[in-house]
């Protein structure tokens, strides 16, 4: 399966889904006017990828310095998808990266983690 690389813009994150290496990254800010327009094609690739692996270890790094409320809903859909895949045996780790001192971003991560059981969720403090 081909990797999915999309450059970041000022209001959409950069996507580096290296399916061949089983490392998926989203980095930047997310506040498009129309979230489904941006995320629907990305979800198609992700679902396709998850359907074609079995007990593979997958590392997902989310380094989102800001996301708006409708992107937050997209993230819930993403975590639901990952949780379901993990329940079926895939070994999924999410690394939630927040900047040192950004307690709001840390709390967002903690709130997402509350709904996850099978996905391993790491809070990663970035010092830069």
């Amino acid at each position: 399966m081909d990797d999915l690389i999309i450059s970041a813009t000022r209001f959409t994150p950069g996507i580096r889904f290296l399916f061949s290496k089983h490392t998926l990254e989203m980095t930047g800010e997310s506040y498009p006017e129309n979230t489904s327009e941006f995320y629907t094609p990305i979800f198609v690739h992700l679902k396709n990828y998850l359907a074609n692996i079995t007990d593979q270890k997958v590392a997902i790094t989310l380094n989102l310095s800001y996301f708006n409320s409708s992107s937050s809903k997209i993230l819930i859909n993403l975590f639901d998808l990952l949780e379901e895949a993990a329940e079926e045996g895939r070994q999924i780790t999410v690394n939630w990266v927040y900047k040192e001192g950004d307690s709001d971003a840390r709390e967002f991560g903690e709130e997402f983690a509350e709904d996850l059981e099978c996905v391993k969720f790491n809070l990663v403090c970035a010092r830069y």
């Binding site: 000022r10 209001f11 708006n68 409320s69 709001d104």
Partner: protein, 186 residues
């Protein structure tokens, strides 16, 4: 009109307005306004306050883009453009920053807006968190063009309860004003 311009500037200055805009808005304008406001206040505010002001600004401006009934549309290349108009302002109020939006709505939407806002305004922090988590999992109202999370997101970023009012414009329309205060308290 020209003779009133400076009086308007003085008025805004007297009310400690950092930024004031009234007119058509777009996603790109939102990005630029966000950038300008961040730069205007970065010397005297910490990063957390700036981030919260920015988050409220995004929700307010995207609400204007989606819900303002003052719209103009036209052709653009092979497609169409739609411009929604509204007001956006950031000012200083005592120890807080105020983030204010305003736009024209249909009177039939007043009830839906005020019942949702009254519910959120009455909540404490813990109730806001639970409501946010519940709403994030719900399908939005049929009338809602977004995730239906904008008001609760603003309320959680604000340090005091949101304030709002409706001012009649004509028989069928009202001007909806919304204010969020961001300060060091929360």
């Amino acid at each position: 009109m020209l003779d009133k311009i400076y009086a308007m500037v003085e008025y805004l200055k007297a009310h400690e307005m950092v930024f004031w805009y009234n007119g058509p808005v777009s996603q790109i304008l939102l990005v630029e306004i966000g950038d300008i406001i961040k730069k205007s206040i970065e010397d005297e505010s910490d990063k957390k306050i700036i981030n919260r002001i920015f988050a409220i600004l995004v929700e307010q401006m995207q609400n204007i883009i989606k819900y303002s009934v003052q719209k103009k549309s036209g052709k653009e290349g092979d497609g169409m453009f739609v411009l929604s108009s509204g007001l956006i302002a950031v000012g200083v109020e005592g120890q807080d920053y105020s983030v204010i939006s305003g736009n024209v709505i249909c009177n039939e939407d007043r009830e839906r807006i005020s019942s949702r806002l009254d519910l959120i305004i009455a909540m404490d922090r813990e109730a806001q968190k639970e409501y946010y988590k519940t709403m994030r999992r719900k399908e939005p109202d049929p009338q809602s063009k977004g995730a239906g999370l904008g008001f609760i997101e603003m309320a959680r970023k604000a340090s005091k309860p949101l304030e709002y009012m409706f001012t009649p414009v004509d028989e069928t329309h009202s001007f909806f004003s919304l204010k969020a205060l961001v300060g060091m308290e929360s």
